[in-house]
Symmetry: C2
Subunit: 307 residues, 2 copies
């Protein structure tokens, strides 16, 4: 099966590396072949260790040229219109080609439109929420239960900053430290203002609670302008929350009894309350290897016909 | 598809109830039919709300009579030889009949022997470890990663008692309270001495780490005879642990930095460290509805061809 890797930044590179590392160890990878990789410079046909442009062109040229069985999208998010990813998914799914993505934007903008095209072509999107820590795929193994409520810490950057602030640092220096360690981007706006967490919440809510919402419907407040992250033993955390009546990202004051209180630094966590029980999962929410594993696990599960 | 429910105690009843509650809501249940239920009194052919013996006989008579497509085993554990469950699984799997179980004993005694018979007949066993909280099935969605280490709180009874002891109660009254609330059995030996946690660890280690061990190979120490469960801010927890060199259940002193420190009462938790990342899941580890959901989720996943 031919895979087209779209985007060849840190996540794309880690994904390709993982495929080659695990090949030979996994039955499911035997017939997997990296048919091509495309980035902003052009298209590399096949995999040759170092990226060298074989053909000028974009993801659509690559798609036509390589005719992949699976598209793996590791491109960065474009929240304006979701493109080129969104158009690529539609094209692929209509062809019966599967899509695996770590790119939140298309799903946060047009979840149900994309899902409506899933058929022979499947859609894996574990990597869009909590990267390699099962969130979307955790919901897949809780079948037949009704999700009543979701609460989560879904953005590692803000959680890292809030943890530093809880430990006494002011916001500005905590942000600088996050940038120094590579946890925050040069322009950290979409993390800080809650938008990134809201995009992830959008995807979760559509998938788990059968709502039909886009990122534009979600209320979000970030951590810009908060004065402190502690109040005695209490901690401030940026909480993504959804129940029957409410979908919102906002800073909340948590007490030590709350399981999410103990999630510090860049770790993420998700609490899923169903009609049966409450389950909480925690793990790394970002990092190239982790996001790559999100896509990698989707690939294996797709080959096992579970996705 | 005809289901034979073996065992009709709290878990068996909750399972059958769940099937009827969710029927009509789930595509996967459309063709599911409770072909029969068997308990110590005899066999009820079909489902009639109240158990009434239609035929005298045991699980093997029931199996021959009903010719099920899926056997759901909710019988209690027999650690002497695993029977009648173990013989029933062998019979069923050899026939290509699938088995879903919440009964730890056969798998703790003969994991690889049973697994060797899986083919057309599949095996679901989520309910044997942490009941409805994904543990076995969580490992299924972490494909292609190598599990390096497992740590868990896998027994709710002892964790409840240790939590009471941490709060100042002596062992004996904590045990009585656990019994009063239905968290401990009349004879709590197998919980208290670590055997139950060791049985679960055995199953996890075989499945996740590709070891070939039985419950008889596992070192276990329980909480009988421990003097206290606190030491300043530290807590004593009964930890199931496995890595490359060691497989053991024993009481450990944990500091507040340890994610397992915060798991109190009857809650269970499992930490899975792989070559990629560390994931922690927590949720109820016991309870008839939760164990029934473990089997129920296996049934749906089996119908989706994931198990």
């Amino acid at each position: 099966m031919k895979v087209l890797v779209a985007g060849y930044g840190n996540v794309g590179k880690a994904f390709v590396k993982l495929i080659f590392e695990k090949k030979g160890k996994l039955e499911e990878l035997k017939d997997i072949e990296i048919g091509g990789i495309v980035n902003r410079k052009g298209i590399m046909v096949g995999y040759k260790d170092q990226f060298t442009v074989d053909i000028e062109g974009d993801v659509f040229t690559a798609y036509e040229k390589i005719k992949p069985d699976i598209v793996v999208d590791t491109m960065s998010a474009n929240y304006k219109d979701g493109n080129p990813s969104l158009s690529l998914y539609k094209l692929a799914l209509k062809d019966g080609t599967s899509v695996i993505t770590t790119n939140k934007a298309p799903l946060a903008l047009a979840f149900n439109e994309i899902m409506g095209l899933v058929g022979k072509g499947r859609l894996g999107f574990q990597g869009t929420v909590m990267s390699g820590t099962p969130s979307i795929n955790l919901l897949r193994i809780l079948p037949g239960s009704e999700v009543k409520r979701i609460r989560g810490i879904l953005n590692g950057t803000t959680n890292f900053i809030l943890t530093m602030m809880y430990n006494g640092q002011p916001f500005e220096s905590a942000l600088k430290e996050a940038q120094r360690l590579g946890y925050a981007e040069e322009d950290p706006t979409l993390d800080i203002n809650g938008f990134d967490a809201a995009a992830k919440l959008t995807i979760l809510v559509n998938f788990a609670m059968k709502k039909s919402v886009t990122i534009r419907d979600i209320k979000f407040t970030g951590i810009q302008g908060i004065k402190g992250a502690y109040d005695g033993h209490k901690k401030v955390k940026l909480i993504a929350y959804a129940d029957e009546n409410e979908i919102e990202v906002s800073p909340k004051v948590l007490t030590p009894e709350d399981p999410l209180y103990h999630i510090d630094g860049v770790e993420n966590a998700l609490e899923i309350m169903t009609d049966i029980q409450t389950t909480i999962i925690r793990g790394p929410g970002a990092g190239p290897i982790n996001a790559a594993y999100g896509a990698f696990s989707d690939l294996i599960l797709l080959k096992r016909n579970f996705i």
